[in-house]
Every structure is written in C-alpha cells, then in structure tokens.
Symmetry: C2
Subunit: 416 residues, 2 copies
Amino acid sequence: MAEQPKAKHVVIIGAGFGGIRAVRALSKADVRITLIDKHNYHLFQPLLYQVSTATLSIDDIAYPIRAMIKNQRNVLFRMGEVNTIDFERKSVILDTEEIDYDYLVVATGGVTNYFGIKSVEKNSFGMKNLDESVTIRNHILHQFELASYEKDMDKRRALLTFIIVGGGPTGVESAGALSELIYLVMAKEYHTLNFKEVRIVLVEASDKVLAAMPEELRETTVETLIRKHVEVRLCVQVTDYDGERLTIKGGEIIPTHTVIWAAGIKAAPILDKLNIEQDPARRAMVNEFLQLPAHPDVFVIGDSAHYEYSGRPLPMIAPVAIQQADVTAKNIKHLIEETPLEKFSYNDVGSMATIGRNAAVVHMGRIKLKGFTAWLIWSLVHILRLIDFRNRFVVFMKWVWEYIFYDRLVRIITRQ
Amino acid sequence: MAEQPKAKHVVIIGAGFGGIRAVRALSKADVRITLIDKHNYHLFQPLLYQVSTATLSIDDIAYPIRAMIKNQRNVLFRMGEVNTIDFERKSVILDTEEIDYDYLVVATGGVTNYFGIKSVEKNSFGMKNLDESVTIRNHILHQFELASYEKDMDKRRALLTFIIVGGGPTGVESAGALSELIYLVMAKEYHTLNFKEVRIVLVEASDKVLAAMPEELRETTVETLIRKHVEVRLCVQVTDYDGERLTIKGGEIIPTHTVIWAAGIKAAPILDKLNIEQDPARRAMVNEFLQLPAHPDVFVIGDSAHYEYSGRPLPMIAPVAIQQADVTAKNIKHLIEETPLEKFSYNDVGSMATIGRNAAVVHMGRIKLKGFTAWLIWSLVHILRLIDFRNRFVVFMKWVWEYIFYDRLVRIITRQ
C-alpha cells in the first residue's frame, strides 16, 4: 500500500461469485482493494446439497480466499462481519474497525427466506451455507441411527420422513440426491430397517417445479423424482413446523423430524440497515450502472441487487453476479478515469438441474436436453466451474467412485 | 438373527482398531455380533494431526462403520454411548436400552490425560478425536486472521504463539506439520504479518522427545524440529493455563491463545465405572488371555487394557490393539468350543514418526532410518493402512499436491 499512495481504495464486501470476480477484474487496475468476508473461504454454493447428502467434503467446495488472491498484489483480505455502512463518511463499519473506501462493492449474497414463518425458521434446516449443509448431513444420518433401534412404528416413521420445501433447483437436486443416498446406499447397510417406511416429500407452493424450465423438462423432472420414490406435492403451502409436526395449509399434518427449507432466498440482512430502497426479497434497487441511485460510489451486485431486465428482476444465481461484477469493475475504472459508465445487460446462460444418476435437465436458449446427455453436461459444467485442479480432480474422483460403487463415504456424523 | 437362534452373542464396545479387527476376526465364527460405538465412523487416529493442520478432510481418515461391515452377515451396529456394564446380568447398559451378551469385548480406546490439571483441561485443546482436531484447525486459522489486523504487538505475539505440550509422536508430528503450514503456506498469504513474530514451542516434561526411539533418532528429530523453527523445550512442566497465559514450573509465563495438549492418554472413562482393578492410566488389568480376572467372559483390549510384557505395560498404540483383537477372537471361539485359551504375546512392530517434508524417523528392530527414506516408508505405511482404495487415493493425491505446490487446501474455518 505504501508503494501506491494515490491509488483509490475499493472495498468489496463478500467473497462469493460476485465479490471474487470483482477482485479478479480489478487485478490490473491502479486501485488497492480490501476484500471483506465473514468466512475465510469462497464457497461453491451450487454443490452445497452434495455436502448435505454425503458425497462431498467441505473442502471440495470451499476454497481459502487467501489462496485465491495470494498472487494478486493489489488486494488485502479481511475476515470480519460488517455491522453497517456509513455512506456519508464512506466507511464500512466492522466490530473492531472502520474501513474507509473510495468505491464500495456490496456483494453480500443471499440467505434463506422463511417468509416470516417463525416456527419454520426455528425448526427447519436452511441450506445456504457450509455449516447448515454439514448440520443437515449430520441430522439425516443420525435419524437413521435412531430409527434403527426405535421399536415404535409411528416414531420410526417420523424419523424416516424427510420433507424438502421448495421446488427450485436446490429442492429438486436435494430430493434426488437424498433419494439415492437412502435407497441406493443406506438400504444396503441398515439390515434391520424396512425402507418402505421411508418417505421423501418435495413440497412446492406453486403448481410447478423448476419454474424457469420449459414444460417438457418440468414434466421429466417430476417423473424422474417419482421414479426415485420422491413424493412430489405441488400447490402445497407450509404454515407451521414445530420440529415434530409439519402443518400444511388446509390442516394436513405430517409427522417428521426433518424439514429442509429451500423455498426462498432473500438478500443478506446487512442491506436492511442501510436506509435504501429494497424489493420484497430485501434486495437493493440499483440503477442501470449497478449503483445505488443516491450513492454513485456504491455498487451492489448479485443476490444483493434488484436489477430489472426485460420487465422482471434478474434471478439470484451465480451468472448474474459474475456478469455484474465485470461491469462494476469496468465502471469503477470509468469513474476513476472520468469516462462514461457502461450499462449492465444480461446474457442469459440458461439453467440446469440434476436429479441423480444419468438424470438432469438442461435449458439453454432453444436447447432442451434431458437424461444422460443433460447429466453429462451438468457434471462437466460443474466440474469445470470449481476453483482449481485439485478440487476438480477430487470431486471428479468422488463422483466416479459413487457412480461405480453406489457408495457415499462422507457419511460421518460430526456433531449431534 | 432369526436364522441363528443358538449362536452366542458377542458384544464389542468400540469401533477403533481393536474393535473393528475383532469384528473381522469373528466374521466366520458361529456367533452373532453387536458392535457399539458412540460415533458412526471408524477413525484413523494416526493422521488426526493432518486434519488439525489443514492437509486432510475428516472423511479422508474417518470411515462409516456400516460401510465397513455391510458384507459381514453376523454383525449389527448400534450407535450409542455405554453408561455402564452389569457383569452379573451380563448386560451392556445404554441410555435407551440394555444389550445382553454372552461374551464382551471392551475396546473403548483412550482419551486425553490432563493428569488432573483442571485449568489445562478447560483451556487447552486435546487431539484424540475428530471434533477436537477440527476445532484445533479452526482455532489456528482464526488466530492468523485475528493477528492480521491486531495492531498491538504483544497481543499479536500472543495470538501467534502456538504451544504443543508432549514430545511423543503426536506432539512431534503436530509441531512439524504446524511449522510447515505456517512457514511454507501461510507466510505466502498474510502479506501484512511479520512471521518473525510467530512462535511454535514443543514442550516436554521429560528430557527426551520420542522416548521409545534410539538416541540417534531422537537427536535427528530435535535437530529437524529446530530447523523448522520449532523451539524444543525439554524438562519443562506445565502447571497452569488460563487460556491466555501458560505457566511453567519455576514460574515462567508464556502468553498464548493456543495450547495443544498431546502429553498423555488414559483409558476411556467407562472403565472407571466398572469396579475393576485399574492402573494409573485407568486401564483395566487383564490376565494373560486378555480377560478380566473376575469375569472370564469379558475381554479388554487395546488402550483399555493394561498388559505387562517384558516387565512393562504395552504402549497405547494401534498394533497392540490389533494383535490383541486377533487373540481375543480366537479365545472367544475357544470358550465356545471349550478348548484351551491362547496366551497373548506381543510382536513389536517398531515405531515411526514424521517431522515433515522428506523428514521422518523409523525404528524397527535393528533398523534405524531417518530423512527421505524414513519419510517414504512412513508415507507408504500410512497410505496402505487407510481403509479403502478411495481414501488411499485421495490422501495420496492430497499429499502429492501439498508436496509439489506447498499448499494446504483444507484451511476452512467452519466454526468459531
């Protein structure tokens, strides 16, 4: 820093897809960067559900931030939680310190949205971060251990009922992976259990799973899930969950010890403290250059930002964050050089989801794929997006192992 | 079980090296087995320190017990903690259930021995199980994050002082691995820290490290540690540790937030409840057939057993447990068949420890090796002892990666 006394200071909050991309995109700029995250790792969120379902370890999808930036001279990392931001003094306020900025990038990502249902928030499992995923894994494995010596049939059935709420990609992928964990792996090992007592239920409030997909692929998805013994229940709204009984609008009650809530995401709570305009998902309204309208030195990207495109807000997915990071990096350079800013325009890369072995759906522009081909594409894309060679290699190896031997070796209960 | 109504019931408590070996050794016997463990995994303890120092993930060294026994017809697994054993009623008492046995094998392993120093027990880190190892990893990584923005030099030095107590293999291997983590990996990433402020101290109460090794290898070990910037302090006794200040007999005080206690092991506390004769390390005194003298249907093996050999109790190491498991399995068959029991006799396989890259010491019979050859042998032996091909392959891959790139990728802080 002493070498570049005049370089502008860019503070980036959040080391997710958007934050890391912004750091990289500014690597050759004449700025000094401080990257802040409450964790010391970057997380490859799309494979979180494979941690929950015992295929991958945490270090397969989490990568030390310092290792990612060690060769980039103009960036310092600061692990810490941001309490608030003072736009007037241009300062990010942490517990122990204040960090002044010239330009700020808010890329704080999303958290689980319980839509205000307190009992669900308290008793169900979110799946948006690493600790939550490990907690789910421990919990699921533990239910089977408890069930294996539970003599009361009703209690056993409640232990063996797994509800996943939310028919988006996370819910669908989790349900498929959980089904294969249970019916292909655990069924070979719990000789005293009757696996007909197991229920996996995917609950969705709307009338569709994977709402962004074309109808044909949605139908394939539901058929595949049903073939994997997943009950798919559409138009079902959860109203309450006390930890033992899930209540559905209309009054039906399902006894269960496991509710995984994948029904919604909202922006991280830091945005609520900033006195800015937010949408119902708590995202900051940004202008066409991704700035806060009242604070042009502050950019908000990814899950934190509400950006209208073709009349709708963009979805909270990684490609949006990455593309917005690129434009933000350019716009920061434009501000420094006092040249005109660039408008953000979204390049839709399509969407995909896997339901299990040889089964996925892929939708890119006019291309619609399903089955084995889609599954190969899904696997390839996800392997290639992982951070480095070691992660790619180990994940590939674990997938091949699981594919051949129908085994999942991360079935380790670390806490209860 | 219904198929073998007359088969004797063997209950084995503990799925460590001894317990698992006993299960395997009884695979063809006409018995039914219940294996009990409080965890659902078998742990490869010799590599625990590589979890603490961010080389390996938990699933590299922990293996689901049910996966290990799924093809063995005569065994059931029960995850649960044993409260006590009723020798009269021949029953193992868990929280929720009692399990009757015809023959019992106690293989409950060891826990950290703090020798009654309460403040150390409360404030230092043990390293005998998976959760403890992960806690140490999180803690060490977190100290560096805290130090990276601590402006007070004394506070920073305390954050960067790491004390390992105990000069046995665990202490030596941890000190070496921690040194390489810090000086070879982290030094490249914490650009704002002065690594001369880091201290790693290996403290040993006796006048030797690796006491079981010949003098020549002990000297090599100390020299290697010193070359790796580890302060080796012999004849130093810890008397108190309040979480911030470690007190040594004589009065010296070392400010530190990290004390790893690898100074002793004792038998698991379950033995204290059984009203049996125990040695100072709480191990059960067993006869030459490994039975409790007063209860010939109860065998005690491994770290749980005190067995005199050549005038000394056998050390608490895996080869002892494994060899005792084999004899115990034979003796259970002898009891069933009413044939004479076999005496246990120990085959000393030697000992080895690694201090880091290209550096280890190996002592087997008359063979004394050090340096690169010893390190290769150490690596090979540990790879081959791992449970299955996938673990071997992934661990091998990670070691090669670390060796080539001087990197450790499990530097993930999961909890604080």
